[in-house]
Amino acid sequence: MAYSEKVLDHYENPRNVGAFDKDDQTVGTGMVGAPACGDVMKLQIKVGADGRIEDAKFKTYGCGSAIASSSLVTEWVKGKTLDQALEIKNTNIAEELALPPVKIHCSILAEDAIKAAVTDYKKKHDHPAGSSENAAAATAQA
Protein backbone atom coordinates (compact mmCIF):
# COMPACT_ATOMS: atom_id res chain seq x y z
CA MET A 1 0.00 0.00 0.00
CA ALA A 2 1.21 3.48 -0.79
CA TYR A 3 1.85 5.71 2.20
CA SER A 4 1.30 9.46 1.99
CA GLU A 5 4.37 11.72 2.04
CA LYS A 6 3.57 12.89 5.56
CA VAL A 7 3.34 9.32 6.84
CA LEU A 8 6.68 8.48 5.23
CA ASP A 9 8.28 11.61 6.70
CA HIS A 10 7.18 10.71 10.26
CA TYR A 11 8.01 7.06 9.70
CA GLU A 12 11.53 7.75 8.46
CA ASN A 13 12.22 10.59 10.90
CA PRO A 14 10.00 9.87 13.88
CA ARG A 15 9.83 12.77 16.35
CA ASN A 16 10.18 12.29 20.08
CA VAL A 17 10.97 8.60 20.23
CA GLY A 18 11.93 7.56 23.75
CA ALA A 19 10.65 7.35 27.28
CA PHE A 20 10.33 9.28 30.52
CA ASP A 21 10.44 7.75 33.98
CA LYS A 22 6.87 6.55 34.44
CA ASP A 23 7.10 7.08 38.23
CA ASP A 24 7.95 10.78 37.83
CA GLN A 25 5.03 12.80 39.24
CA THR A 26 5.12 15.22 36.27
CA VAL A 27 4.78 12.36 33.76
CA GLY A 28 1.61 10.74 32.46
CA THR A 29 1.89 7.40 30.65
CA GLY A 30 -0.64 5.96 28.21
CA MET A 31 -0.38 2.38 26.97
CA VAL A 32 -2.80 1.15 24.33
CA GLY A 33 -2.97 -1.72 21.87
CA ALA A 34 -4.93 -2.61 18.74
CA PRO A 35 -5.81 -6.32 18.65
CA ALA A 36 -6.71 -6.29 14.95
CA CYS A 37 -3.13 -5.56 13.90
CA GLY A 38 -1.22 -6.31 17.12
CA ASP A 39 0.12 -2.75 17.37
CA VAL A 40 1.30 -1.58 20.78
CA MET A 41 1.74 2.12 21.59
CA LYS A 42 3.21 3.88 24.61
CA LEU A 43 2.79 7.64 24.79
CA GLN A 44 4.09 9.81 27.63
CA ILE A 45 3.53 13.45 28.46
CA LYS A 46 5.61 15.65 30.77
CA VAL A 47 3.55 18.41 32.35
CA GLY A 48 5.12 21.70 33.42
CA ALA A 49 4.36 23.80 36.52
CA ASP A 50 1.98 25.93 34.43
CA GLY A 51 -0.15 22.87 33.65
CA ARG A 52 0.93 22.76 30.02
CA ILE A 53 2.49 19.75 28.34
CA GLU A 54 6.14 20.70 27.91
CA ASP A 55 7.39 17.49 26.33
CA ALA A 56 6.13 14.16 24.95
CA LYS A 57 7.72 10.87 24.01
CA PHE A 58 6.47 7.70 22.38
CA LYS A 59 7.41 4.16 21.55
CA THR A 60 5.28 2.26 19.07
CA TYR A 61 5.52 -1.24 17.67
CA GLY A 62 3.36 -1.29 14.61
CA CYS A 63 2.99 -0.32 10.97
CA GLY A 64 4.12 2.95 9.38
CA SER A 65 0.74 4.60 9.96
CA ALA A 66 0.77 3.75 13.67
CA ILE A 67 4.30 5.14 14.07
CA ALA A 68 3.42 8.28 12.09
CA SER A 69 0.20 8.81 14.10
CA SER A 70 2.03 8.63 17.43
CA SER A 71 4.95 10.76 16.17
CA LEU A 72 2.50 13.42 14.97
CA VAL A 73 0.53 13.62 18.22
CA THR A 74 3.69 14.00 20.33
CA GLU A 75 4.36 17.12 18.23
CA TRP A 76 0.81 18.35 18.55
CA VAL A 77 0.41 18.00 22.32
CA LYS A 78 3.47 20.09 23.17
CA GLY A 79 2.45 23.47 24.62
CA LYS A 80 -1.16 22.36 25.07
CA THR A 81 -3.09 22.18 28.34
CA LEU A 82 -4.43 18.75 29.31
CA ASP A 83 -7.93 19.74 28.23
CA GLN A 84 -6.65 20.97 24.87
CA ALA A 85 -4.76 17.68 24.40
CA LEU A 86 -8.00 15.79 25.00
CA GLU A 87 -9.58 17.70 22.13
CA ILE A 88 -7.33 16.01 19.57
CA LYS A 89 -9.53 13.65 17.59
CA ASN A 90 -8.52 10.69 15.50
CA THR A 91 -10.14 12.38 12.50
CA ASN A 92 -7.65 15.29 12.82
CA ILE A 93 -4.77 12.81 12.78
CA ALA A 94 -6.17 10.77 9.89
CA GLU A 95 -6.78 13.94 7.88
CA GLU A 96 -3.32 15.39 8.51
CA LEU A 97 -1.61 12.13 7.50
CA ALA A 98 -4.10 11.33 4.70
CA LEU A 99 -4.64 7.85 6.15
CA PRO A 100 -6.67 5.41 4.03
CA PRO A 101 -9.82 3.88 5.64
CA VAL A 102 -8.04 0.61 6.54
CA LYS A 103 -5.54 2.58 8.63
CA ILE A 104 -8.03 4.69 10.57
CA HIS A 105 -7.59 2.39 13.58
CA CYS A 106 -3.98 3.66 13.85
CA SER A 107 -5.26 7.19 14.43
CA ILE A 108 -7.83 5.89 16.93
CA LEU A 109 -4.96 4.21 18.76
CA ALA A 110 -3.04 7.51 18.95
CA GLU A 111 -6.10 9.42 20.21
CA ASP A 112 -6.71 6.77 22.88
CA ALA A 113 -3.02 6.90 23.86
CA ILE A 114 -3.21 10.64 24.64
CA LYS A 115 -6.42 10.13 26.63
CA ALA A 116 -4.76 7.33 28.60
CA ALA A 117 -1.66 9.46 29.27
CA VAL A 118 -3.76 12.41 30.50
CA THR A 119 -5.86 10.08 32.68
CA ASP A 120 -2.69 8.58 34.17
CA TYR A 121 -1.29 12.04 34.93
CA LYS A 122 -4.56 13.18 36.53
CA LYS A 123 -4.73 10.02 38.61
CA LYS A 124 -1.30 10.76 40.06
CA HIS A 125 -2.45 14.22 41.12
CA ASP A 126 -5.89 13.25 42.33
CA HIS A 127 -5.06 13.64 46.05
CA PRO A 128 -6.97 16.02 48.32
CA ALA A 129 -3.74 16.76 50.23
CA GLY A 130 -1.87 17.84 47.11
CA SER A 131 -0.59 21.34 46.30
CA SER A 132 -3.06 23.96 45.09
CA GLU A 133 -2.10 23.25 41.50
CA ASN A 134 -2.65 19.52 42.00
CA ALA A 135 -5.95 20.22 43.70
CA ALA A 136 -6.96 22.26 40.66
CA ALA A 137 -6.08 19.36 38.38
CA ALA A 138 -8.15 17.05 40.57
CA THR A 139 -11.11 19.43 40.46
CA ALA A 140 -10.84 19.71 36.70
CA GLN A 141 -11.11 15.93 36.48
CA ALA A 142 -14.12 15.73 38.82
Partner: protein
Amino acid sequence: MSTDFSQDFFALFGLTPNFHLDPLALETAYHDLQTRVHPDKFAHLPDADKRVSMQWATRINEAYRTLKSPLARAQYLLHLRGVDTATESNTTMPSEFLIEQMEWREAVDEARVAEDADELEKLLLRLKHQYAAAIEEIERDLDKSHDYPAAAAAVRRLMFVEKLQHDLLDAIESLES
Protein backbone atom coordinates in the same frame (compact mmCIF):
# COMPACT_ATOMS: atom_id res chain seq x y z
CA MET B 1 -28.53 -30.58 -1.32
CA SER B 2 -31.04 -30.55 1.48
CA THR B 3 -29.19 -27.97 3.57
CA ASP B 4 -29.79 -24.24 3.36
CA PHE B 5 -27.50 -21.22 3.19
CA SER B 6 -28.66 -19.79 6.52
CA GLN B 7 -27.13 -22.68 8.47
CA ASP B 8 -24.13 -21.77 10.59
CA PHE B 9 -20.73 -23.29 9.78
CA PHE B 10 -20.95 -25.89 12.54
CA ALA B 11 -24.36 -27.14 11.37
CA LEU B 12 -23.07 -27.19 7.81
CA PHE B 13 -20.45 -29.76 8.82
CA GLY B 14 -22.72 -31.53 11.32
CA LEU B 15 -20.46 -30.48 14.22
CA THR B 16 -21.41 -29.38 17.74
CA PRO B 17 -20.94 -25.60 18.09
CA ASN B 18 -18.10 -25.80 20.61
CA PHE B 19 -14.67 -24.26 20.65
CA HIS B 20 -13.23 -27.70 21.29
CA LEU B 21 -13.23 -29.46 17.97
CA ASP B 22 -11.99 -32.78 16.66
CA PRO B 23 -9.72 -31.82 13.74
CA LEU B 24 -10.29 -35.19 12.08
CA ALA B 25 -14.08 -34.80 12.20
CA LEU B 26 -13.74 -31.39 10.55
CA GLU B 27 -11.45 -32.75 7.81
CA THR B 28 -13.79 -35.67 7.10
CA ALA B 29 -16.92 -33.50 6.96
CA TYR B 30 -15.12 -30.96 4.75
CA HIS B 31 -13.93 -33.49 2.20
CA ASP B 32 -17.33 -35.19 2.20
CA LEU B 33 -19.17 -31.94 1.44
CA GLN B 34 -16.55 -30.83 -1.07
CA THR B 35 -17.08 -34.02 -3.06
CA ARG B 36 -20.84 -33.52 -3.03
CA VAL B 37 -20.71 -30.01 -4.50
CA HIS B 38 -17.80 -30.56 -6.88
CA PRO B 39 -18.40 -28.56 -10.10
CA ASP B 40 -17.84 -31.69 -12.24
CA LYS B 41 -21.07 -33.13 -10.85
CA PHE B 42 -22.98 -30.11 -12.08
CA ALA B 43 -21.33 -29.82 -15.51
CA HIS B 44 -24.35 -31.32 -17.30
CA LEU B 45 -26.88 -29.19 -15.42
CA PRO B 46 -28.28 -25.74 -16.31
CA ASP B 47 -26.20 -22.64 -15.51
CA ALA B 48 -28.39 -21.74 -12.54
CA ASP B 49 -27.53 -25.06 -10.87
CA LYS B 50 -23.84 -24.59 -11.68
CA ARG B 51 -23.94 -21.19 -10.00
CA VAL B 52 -25.54 -22.66 -6.89
CA SER B 53 -22.86 -25.35 -6.73
CA MET B 54 -20.18 -22.67 -7.00
CA GLN B 55 -21.79 -20.73 -4.17
CA TRP B 56 -21.84 -23.86 -2.05
CA ALA B 57 -18.21 -24.63 -2.77
CA THR B 58 -17.24 -21.08 -1.74
CA ARG B 59 -19.29 -21.26 1.44
CA ILE B 60 -17.86 -24.64 2.38
CA ASN B 61 -14.31 -23.35 1.93
CA GLU B 62 -15.04 -20.29 4.02
CA ALA B 63 -16.61 -22.44 6.74
CA TYR B 64 -13.61 -24.78 6.74
CA ARG B 65 -11.08 -21.93 7.00
CA THR B 66 -13.06 -20.32 9.81
CA LEU B 67 -13.43 -23.45 11.91
CA LYS B 68 -9.89 -24.72 11.32
CA SER B 69 -8.18 -21.63 12.79
CA PRO B 70 -8.63 -21.49 16.60
CA LEU B 71 -8.68 -17.69 16.54
CA ALA B 72 -11.24 -17.45 13.72
CA ARG B 73 -13.31 -20.24 15.31
CA ALA B 74 -13.44 -18.40 18.65
CA GLN B 75 -14.42 -15.14 16.95
CA TYR B 76 -17.09 -16.93 14.92
CA LEU B 77 -18.55 -18.64 18.00
CA LEU B 78 -18.71 -15.31 19.83
CA HIS B 79 -20.39 -13.80 16.78
CA LEU B 80 -22.99 -16.62 16.88
CA ARG B 81 -23.54 -15.83 20.58
CA GLY B 82 -24.08 -12.18 19.71
CA VAL B 83 -20.83 -10.96 21.30
CA ASP B 84 -18.73 -8.35 19.49
CA THR B 85 -15.01 -9.01 19.98
CA ALA B 86 -14.35 -5.31 19.15
CA THR B 87 -10.93 -6.09 17.73
CA GLU B 88 -10.92 -2.83 15.74
CA SER B 89 -12.10 -0.42 18.40
CA ASN B 90 -11.11 -1.81 21.79
CA THR B 91 -7.68 -0.36 22.61
CA THR B 92 -7.84 -0.59 26.39
CA MET B 93 -6.08 -3.86 27.04
CA PRO B 94 -5.00 -4.54 30.65
CA SER B 95 -1.87 -2.43 31.20
CA GLU B 96 0.20 -5.36 32.55
CA PHE B 97 -0.54 -7.20 29.31
CA LEU B 98 0.52 -4.22 27.18
CA ILE B 99 3.72 -3.69 29.19
CA GLU B 100 4.50 -7.37 28.69
CA GLN B 101 3.82 -7.00 24.96
CA MET B 102 6.22 -4.03 24.79
CA GLU B 103 8.88 -6.12 26.51
CA TRP B 104 8.30 -8.96 24.08
CA ARG B 105 8.67 -6.63 21.09
CA GLU B 106 11.84 -5.15 22.55
CA ALA B 107 13.31 -8.63 23.17
CA VAL B 108 12.49 -9.72 19.62
CA ASP B 109 13.97 -6.51 18.20
CA GLU B 110 17.18 -6.86 20.21
CA ALA B 111 17.65 -10.50 19.21
CA ARG B 112 16.97 -9.65 15.56
CA VAL B 113 19.47 -6.80 15.53
CA ALA B 114 22.06 -8.98 17.31
CA GLU B 115 21.27 -11.79 14.81
CA ASP B 116 20.93 -14.10 17.80
CA ALA B 117 19.12 -17.11 16.33
CA ASP B 118 19.27 -19.07 19.63
CA GLU B 119 17.56 -16.26 21.51
CA LEU B 120 14.87 -16.00 18.83
CA GLU B 121 14.19 -19.74 19.09
CA LYS B 122 13.98 -19.44 22.88
CA LEU B 123 11.50 -16.59 22.56
CA LEU B 124 9.44 -18.62 20.10
CA LEU B 125 9.28 -21.53 22.54
CA ARG B 126 8.15 -19.23 25.36
CA LEU B 127 5.56 -17.70 23.09
CA LYS B 128 4.18 -21.13 22.18
CA HIS B 129 3.45 -21.72 25.87
CA GLN B 130 1.59 -18.40 25.99
CA TYR B 131 -0.34 -19.36 22.88
CA ALA B 132 -1.36 -22.70 24.39
CA ALA B 133 -2.41 -21.01 27.63
CA ALA B 134 -4.58 -18.52 25.72
CA ILE B 135 -6.24 -21.33 23.76
CA GLU B 136 -6.96 -23.22 27.00
CA GLU B 137 -8.51 -20.14 28.52
CA ILE B 138 -10.72 -19.53 25.48
CA GLU B 139 -11.89 -23.14 25.59
CA ARG B 140 -12.75 -22.80 29.28
CA ASP B 141 -14.61 -19.51 28.77
CA LEU B 142 -16.55 -20.67 25.71
CA ASP B 143 -17.32 -24.33 26.42
CA LYS B 144 -17.43 -24.57 30.23
CA SER B 145 -18.14 -21.30 32.04
CA HIS B 146 -19.83 -19.62 29.03
CA ASP B 147 -18.24 -16.34 30.07
CA TYR B 148 -18.34 -14.63 26.68
CA PRO B 149 -16.91 -11.22 27.65
CA ALA B 150 -13.92 -13.05 29.17
CA ALA B 151 -13.59 -15.11 25.99
CA ALA B 152 -13.66 -11.92 23.87
CA ALA B 153 -10.86 -10.43 26.00
CA ALA B 154 -8.84 -13.65 25.62
CA VAL B 155 -9.42 -13.53 21.85
CA ARG B 156 -8.02 -9.98 21.74
CA ARG B 157 -4.94 -11.14 23.66
CA LEU B 158 -4.50 -14.10 21.34
CA MET B 159 -4.41 -11.70 18.37
CA PHE B 160 -1.33 -10.00 19.84
CA VAL B 161 0.31 -13.37 20.46
CA GLU B 162 -0.34 -14.42 16.85
CA LYS B 163 1.13 -11.16 15.55
CA LEU B 164 4.23 -11.65 17.71
CA GLN B 165 4.58 -15.22 16.53
CA HIS B 166 4.38 -14.03 12.95
CA ASP B 167 7.10 -11.41 13.57
CA LEU B 168 9.31 -13.94 15.36
CA LEU B 169 9.03 -16.47 12.54
CA ASP B 170 9.85 -13.70 10.06
CA ALA B 171 12.95 -12.77 12.07
CA ILE B 172 14.09 -16.40 12.28
CA GLU B 173 13.51 -16.92 8.57
CA SER B 174 15.47 -13.80 7.62
CA LEU B 175 18.46 -15.04 9.65
CA GLU B 176 18.36 -18.44 7.97
CA SER B 177 18.32 -17.07 4.45
